[in-house]
Amino acid sequence: MNIIEIKGLKKNYALGKTTVHALRGVDLCVEKGNLISIIGPSGSGKTTLLNVIGCIDNATEGSVRVGEREITALSDRQITDIRLHQIGFIFQTFNLIPVLNTIENVEFPLLLMKKQSKGEIRKKAEKLIDGVGLKEFAHHRPAELSGGQRQRVAIARALVTNPDIVLADEPTANLDSVTGEQILDLMREMNRVEKTTFIFSTHDANVLKYAREVIKIKDGLIVKEA
């Protein structure tokens, strides 16, 4: 069963007077529970593709179906709902809320959802923080954590809502190799245990071994699926 279906996806950016064709007609289907790596050189369109799938950017042309919904025609409010309920995002630069500590950052999406009690939310966040090995740092602010620790918090936050898809844009780019491997191990473990679909982009060939499927992208087009 496909959780993502993309057909003829094009994305153009206006850069001054010129138009940059970031995606030139991408067709892609992603099965639920898969662990996919998108590889390609810088500027190939990896981040743009993840942003469109993650409802962070909109398509210029084509269709993008996430779960049961075609996302290209949705309102801002609906798109935000999809981001909150169906998608978890791990950014390259470990974007955390600086004024909240580790556990509060992880709780943040659940508090936005307003579906569970504070006790339940706290319990779930603690479990995930424990899962990513940051129990001792639960009350530390992002500024008091290392890069790897922050990325783990981001992973915990991405998973706390039990999303259908977790998108990670070069999650190891700013980490040393050991920490990067720990993060990828963690993602693979979560994929195995939680059956969450993971799509991560990278231009590091060493991390490909973690993916069950690799999609190569070049000049805005998928050139190889393996």
């Binding site: 801002d76 935000t80 600086p98």
Partner: protein, 508 residues
């Protein structure tokens, strides 16, 4: 909501510099706004106490023939039209349930004659029934020399301003009857000229009558007075008993009433005086039986009228000062009063106290408006600075806001977070500003700042600076602060709401 407050509060602490800048602006804005409100309210209260309650009343009823509404301070000294039917006006006023009290008054100018033969001066006369005046304006005048007149007593109360003016123009120094010179009360100029002062215990007034004739009267000075407030403004109004006033201005007085003349006197008046010889001829009624008829009848007539009580209000006045009951709006009261006067066809109408004092009333309104504009200007400046600072703060937090949006925060959450921050700053710093403003107003009131300057006295609403804050004023300050906060946060909110997750990623 807890999450929003938590984030807002921590963001305030995180961005201390900006928070302090916005906080200080809000503090100063709220402080100046509160003090400004206090000054405006104090001025309002002062004007009410010192002009309305001490001099004009809420409304002034004047003759329909009166051209200018400025009946008190007409610069050209134009005569105020007389009102001959004060008794009827009083009857009408008694029917109005929104009227608390009233006082018929004569007001006009008269020349002060110089018995020493030098130049003449002038005086603004207020003709009143002393007893009624004291009942309507209790404690309004205080004798610094002499005393207030007894009931029915004739005489004048000379205020310090009029005495100074008489000295400046005529070198005359008025003192009350049976009093000696009070050196301590002399002006510096009078003191310097002490040995040459011409002391006078009575006023010789010359009033101008409607028929272009004049009447001179001499009035004993019962007291030299100071008005309770705004003595600098009201200090030229000499208060005289109403009957003397009428005599001076050539109005008919209350004691002059219509009498039925005997037949012989009617005949005398009916004589054709074209031929003066007739008046002294044998046919003249005066010559005929004069000892038998005329003298006994005349004595009898005088004896009869002397014991009859006189209704003092039966004579002429120039205006009736009217006070409305507490809570009655001035405009509404005037409207009702004018409708009643018109319906009764009394040939008189009411004008507001502001109109009756002409330039001073306008000046008071202008000063109040200027203060209001100043406070509004402060609002505007505060809003501009806060808008600018908050907008910059929003843009600087693009990554944070964009990331919040990326993980599912709706625009409403961002709005609430931003508004929460501003509201906390406004509540803490603005609240402190309002409290400090209240304390400042109290301290200013207690400091008893006084001024002799006319303009500053108007700003003060009296001789003493007495800013005043009611609970309503404090409520208004809070509302004003809320409006400033609300307006100031609108544009930054728009900026913050427009930040997308993509903006955050692009910035990284």
């Amino acid at each position: 909501m807890n999450l929003i407050i938590k984030i807002a509060w921590r963001n305030i602490l995180r961005h201390k510099g900006k928070s302090v800048i916005i906080g200080v602006i809000l503090f100063l804005g709220a402080l100046i706004m509160t003090v400004g409100n206090g000054v405006i309210s104090g001025m309002d209260l002062g004007l009410r106490e010192n002009i309305i309650n001490c001099f004009t009343g809420d409304a002034v009823i004047i003759s329909d023939k009166q051209q200018s509404d400025n009946v008190f301070l007409e610069m050209m000294g134009k005569a105020v039209e007389p009102v001959f039917n004060a008794v009827d006006i009083k009857k009408e006023l008694d029917k109005q349930n929104y009227v608390s009290r009233y006082l018929p008054v004569g007001k006009n100018m008269a020349l002060v004659l110089n018995e020493d033969g030098g130049s003449m001066g002038h005086a603004l006369l207020m003709g009143v029934d002393f007893e009624k005046y004291r009942a309507v304006f209790p404690g309004n005048v205080k004798p610094i020399e002499g005393r207030l007149p007894a009931q029915g007593e004739k005489g004048a109360l000379v205020p310090t301003g009029a005495r100074k003016q008489a000295f400046d123009f005529m070198n005359i120094w008025f003192i009350p009857e049976q009093e000696t010179l009070h050196i301590a009360n002399l002006t510096p100029e009078a003191l310097a000229n002490k040995d040459n002062l011409s002391l006078k215990r009575s006023l010789v007034l010359m009033g101008f009558n409607d028929d272009n004739s004049t009447s001179d009267i001499r009035l004993g000075i019962k007291g030299v007075i100071k008005y309770k407030a705004l003595n600098h403004v009201w200090g030229n109004f000499v208060i005289v008993d109403i009957e003397s006033y009428r005599q001076c201005l050539g109005y008919f007085s209350a004691s002059e009433k219509a009498v039925e003349l005997p037949a012989d006197q009617k005949s005398l008046l009916a004589l054709d005086n074209a031929n003066l010889d007739d008046m002294f001829s044998d046919n003249s009624l005066i010559v005929k039986d004069v000892k038998k008829t005329a003298v006994p009848q005349k004595i009898g007539h005088f004896t009869a009228t002397a014991v009859q009580p006189v209704d003092i209000d039966a004579g002429a006045y120039n205006m009736v000062l009217v006070f409305f009951k507490r809570g009655v709006q001035l405009d509404q009261g005037l409207k009702n009063l004018n409708a009643a006067l018109k319906a009764a066809n009394l040939g008189a109408h009411a004008v507001s106290w502001k109109s009756s004092i002409g330039p001073i009333g306008n000046m008071a309104v202008l000063i109040k408006a200027a203060l209001f504009v100043f406070v509004m200007f402060l609002f505007f400046v505060a809003i501009i600075i806060i808008v600018n600072t908050l907008s910059m703060a929003a843009l600087e937090r693009t990554s944070e806001i964009g990331m919040m949006r990326a993980v599912g925060a709706k625009k409403g959450f961002i709005s609430n977070m931003f508004f929460g921050e501003t509201a906390i700053l406004s509540g803490v710093f603005g609240g402190a500003g309002i409290i400090t403003g209240i304390i400042a107003v109290k301290l200013l009131t207690l400091s008893h700042i006084t001024s002799d300057n006319d303009m500053i006295q108007l700003l003060f609403g009296g001789d003493t600076f007495r800013p005043f804050l009611s609970a309503g004023d404090i409520g208004i300050a809070i509302v004003q602060l809320a409006i400033v906060t609300g307006v100031a946060v609108l544009y930054p909110l728009k900026v913050a709401r427009s930040i997308t997750p993509l903006d955050a990623i692009s910035r990284d």
